[in-house]
Symmetry: D2
């Protein structure tokens, strides 16, 4: 590995999210940002001034052809993910792609194949999977603290920002889809979505999406760029506990020790229900920065020379779910079956 | 009219809601509660003690055969609404039925016919239509203060109370359906619902319902008896303003002077969007008790000898919508077309 | 005891709070409300109709002279507490007086003496001492869960209701003073208060009160009838935990496992501080009605023939603290020393 | 003026707040940051890397002796303000000092004198005076929208950060004092404070402060480094409206159109009160950054060659109020008279 065991890195795309990745990469030990690349010379110059020792270029080739660049971190618009990532992989670079992995399931799977062929690491930036509250819920679910999960209901709404070329489902859906898959350890079997293109014709800015899982769990996701106030709230209802997760809130997790006690009807009797309410706990959460954790994971994979099949399956299924939701949207809410690969092979998830 | 111009009233059903109606009726001038009726002798005796001058009976006939009873107020379980109300109407009594009007659209319309035949007044207790925040929103919508309505998203969730014989859609749906119809002045053209019978097999306790309207408005309604905390929140998003309505909150209405400004693309240009955020206002609302307003309306109709066709159309459509949602639920979310009558005839709504 | 072991009770005063006491007394087993008494004949008639088997009278003598009345519950205006309670005690009746016990410390202590002379029970209706969150905090403090208490800051504010003849300190102060004394197990050693008579000249409607305790705890109490919104919030800061108590809130207690870790300076070093933040818990609380608990306590004392010296000391000290705060108010915030009796004799508090 | 009409600036002190000033200064047109100065070489080096064209030095002389530096911005620890600012002023530099202006009223006034002697501009960084909600309240008060102000109650509490050498009054008090003075247009006539040194002996970390104004307004300020959660909330109660200002909240200002209507007693009658509640409005506020506005003001004064006597009087009185509060704290809450100069001369406030 180049540069005395430091991983040489190129960063491609310095728009909305790229600067965050660049900032964290710059502060990581064991990582050396060698090159930044963006098509906009003015933007490039701005970051070049802040990082005088880093090479700045508008040419992707300068990244691909540099033998001291081991890994590329891509944060370009969604529809360029595939083309750029494919070139990086083919050039033998480990590749980190901001979510979603690609703009179609087919392209996403093709990237996974190329990474396997080249024996390099591929990872998708589903940063919420590294967020402390999301991880805490995943741990509780894995340990059975919630009992049987009945349903999950999520709202991710805000006033803005309308994207120019993709619907609210492409913009916000990957967040919820990645979280749901990682929590439930499976992909849904069907998707349904309705919505409306309120402001720009042809560009849905509000969507209501239902996901059905083989386990019986149903998940509902409301996405919108048209909301009076920002809300990022997910409710998980289990037989033993219920959780409210509010991303960005002062107390992002609130765990309700509530439940329903059901007793089967006796011989001639009726069933009996009682409601149990207990303590409500806002657990102290880890304060680690998710973006740093996810990049450390990426460099860990590189160092250990191992891929994470489950992560790539999740990333591909997220793209497939966005596609399926868009299909359902275009068919006015028709149920669209989904065949994912995430969670299908026992023991694969770490 | 009996009793020197006071309307003689019988109250049938003293379970959950009947006592509230009885309390308000007892305090109304111009109204004389003559008889209370319930099948449970113990419950009957309890209310008889509080109202010593009122006749208490387990026999509906005692109500029907009393010539001094002009009007009957019915608050029995949903599945008995039709049978009891039909007998009251046939006996020539003005009839007030707690919502929903009946357990099927056919029965609901049959009650309307009977009321017309007997030339007596029929009314359904959609009490939310008399709630000050619901009325304030209706006024704003009618006056165009919200601009074009894009969508409405509502959550009506709580921990409990599971009903023994009807789903959460029959229990909570009529609230939202009646509110939506009165606000939008039209019935939806199709309904879709998914849900789950989490606790009692065959009894859905959570449902996500989509309603599509001819005007393009989409409405989404989440209903649940399985929620960590009570929430009764409706968001109405219009082109000029947005409203958050939280029933029972300290500030039940919050009006956001927010919007999106869209400018069409010029010759070779792209469209341009900007977000406008203005003041947020919690208006001072009327403090009248909805249940008193609705009963005054009922007695007003009796006194003036007039029916309200629009009200009965709304009440019938609400029943039809619950039926349609249940059908969709049983078909796993299939779109069920709906042909309502509410709002179809111009000028009928008062 | 009269009436086959049931305690015969007279209720004197049916204004703001008396009806609540009457309602609970009517539903208690082992208690027989024989007589209600109020100077306002119209008000008296209203409650007589609801309680047809109870004697209604405007004459206190009818209560005092009835040998079947064992106990009197008094909920009249503050300035009549002493005169009425003294007559009840002298007539040999067990006596419950709504808080504050009297309008002066001297009168309060005189009532305690009369009760002792007659060997009857005397109790003051400090209902907050029976509220589940107040009791839960008291338990935590007694068990040392908060560590050393540093300070307590309380706000009890609302828009209204201005009393006609007493300041906001007489009206709201007894709530906080009784809670503070019961929590800390001691009376303060001095009081300071400033305030303003914003609306009615001579009638303070806002006050800021400081209490200093021998243990070093300082308590601050803000009382006001002039607040944009209702707030009843008390913060208790201890070395191990901190608590926010919001009376009437959905989650009335929130326990913060937070603290400051202080390390003494070493030889030449500086002191070192670190802040510890842990879980936040809203404990499930008992749902018992405080007013029923307090009356059960009163009748328990009667049955067991025992007095509670600590309770009466607290009640007397609360009156004394209101007097001291009023004195300080009139001297523009001068520190007024206070010599209480509550908590001075070890082992007396139960 | 040096550098073709750009104001040459030196920034002294890069600890907690200095970096914010440096960031904004770097982005201002018409301003040229020439030199940064800090005693900590490591910290200095860090900022030097980010600002490669700026001279970095540990010697204040390098700032004072540079003829191209017109103005110095000081953000050092409180107890060094005076010594550094005095040298800057004596060197003929326009001087901006982070709040508080100095560690004693005497020193503060001495700095004002030196600025006058040298005819250079002096300003103190009371940044809250430039915060949009504070300005909006000031405008409403000036225009009489609140009617007569009865009282103001403020809480500024947090968990941490204990300062090493100054009490919570020196740390947080200047915020509230500067806001109160600017709102009311006058300085208080007396101050009273009690508090406790809960964690570090001799270093008060909680204080309750009362300020009395000649107009009759009373203000109460709670300051603490020991609070379970951050709260920066000020309530202003006027005869016509009431305001809740929560710094940093999503809706920092909420204006309540509430009030009390008092009618004088008639000949033999009693006074009559009624409570009026109206709309609650969260006004849309300017989003300008306060720190940029305050620095623009400073450079505006420099360009126009004018001083702002009222601003300096306010800054001196804030220091004096902190001193007075500390005196009262040390005398266990004794009232300390205060003779301020702010607002004493009519027409001086701009």
């Amino acid at each position: 590995m180049a540069d005395e065991e430091r991983v040489g890195v190129g960063v491609v795309g310095l728009g909305y999210w790229g600067p965050n990745l660049l900032r964290v990469l710059s502060e990581m030990t064991g990582v050396h940002v060698r090159t930044i690349c963006d098509l906009d010379p003015e933007r490039l110059a701005r970051f070049a001034r802040r990082h005088p020792s880093v090479r700045a270029t508008v040419r992707l080739e300068d990244v691909l052809e540099d033998p001291q660049i081991d890994a590329v971190v891509i944060a370009t618009p969604v529809f360029s993910h595939y083309a750029i990532a494919a070139r990086c992989l083919d050039a033998g670079k480990h590749t980190f792609v901001e979510k979603p992995l690609a703009a179609s399931g087919e392209h996403a799977r093709d990237l996974v194949s190329r990474a396997a062929e080249q024996d390099v690491r591929l990872m998708c930036g589903h940063v919420f999977l590294y967020s402390p509250p999301v991880r805490a819920v995943a741990d509780m679910l894995r340990d059975g603290h919630l009992g049987e999960v009945y349903f999950i209901s999520s709202s991710r709404v805000n006033l803005g920002l309308h994207q120019r070329d993709v619907s609210v489902v492409w913009d916000l859906g990957p967040h919820d889809f990645s979280i749901l898959l990682s929590w439930l350890g499976e992909s849904p079997t069907s998707v349904r979505a309705i919505g409306r293109d309120s402001i720009v014709s042809g560009l849905p800015d509000v969507a209501f999406i239902d996901l059905a899982f083989a386990s019986g769990v149903i998940a509902h996701v409301e996405l919108s760029w048209l909301s009076p106030s920002k809300l990022r709230r997910t409710v998980i209802v289990g037989s033993e506990r219920m959780i409210v997760y509010e991303d960005g809130g002062i107390e992002p997790l609130r765990i309700f020790d509530h439940g329903v006690v059901y007793r089967d009807p006796e011989t001639f009797g009726e069933f009996h229900l009682s409601y149990r309410t207990g303590d409500i706990v806002s657990p102290k959460l880890d304060t680690a920065e998710p973006i740093a954790l996810e990049l450390e994971d990426f460099f860990g994979l590189i160092r250990r020379g191992r891929s994470r099949a489950d992560h790539l399956e999740l990333a591909c299924d997220v793209v497939g779910l966005v596609e399926a939701a868009e299909t359902s949207l275009s068919r006015d809410g028709e149920r669209v079956p989904f065949e994912g690969t995430y969670g299908q092979v026992a023991g694969q998830t770490d």
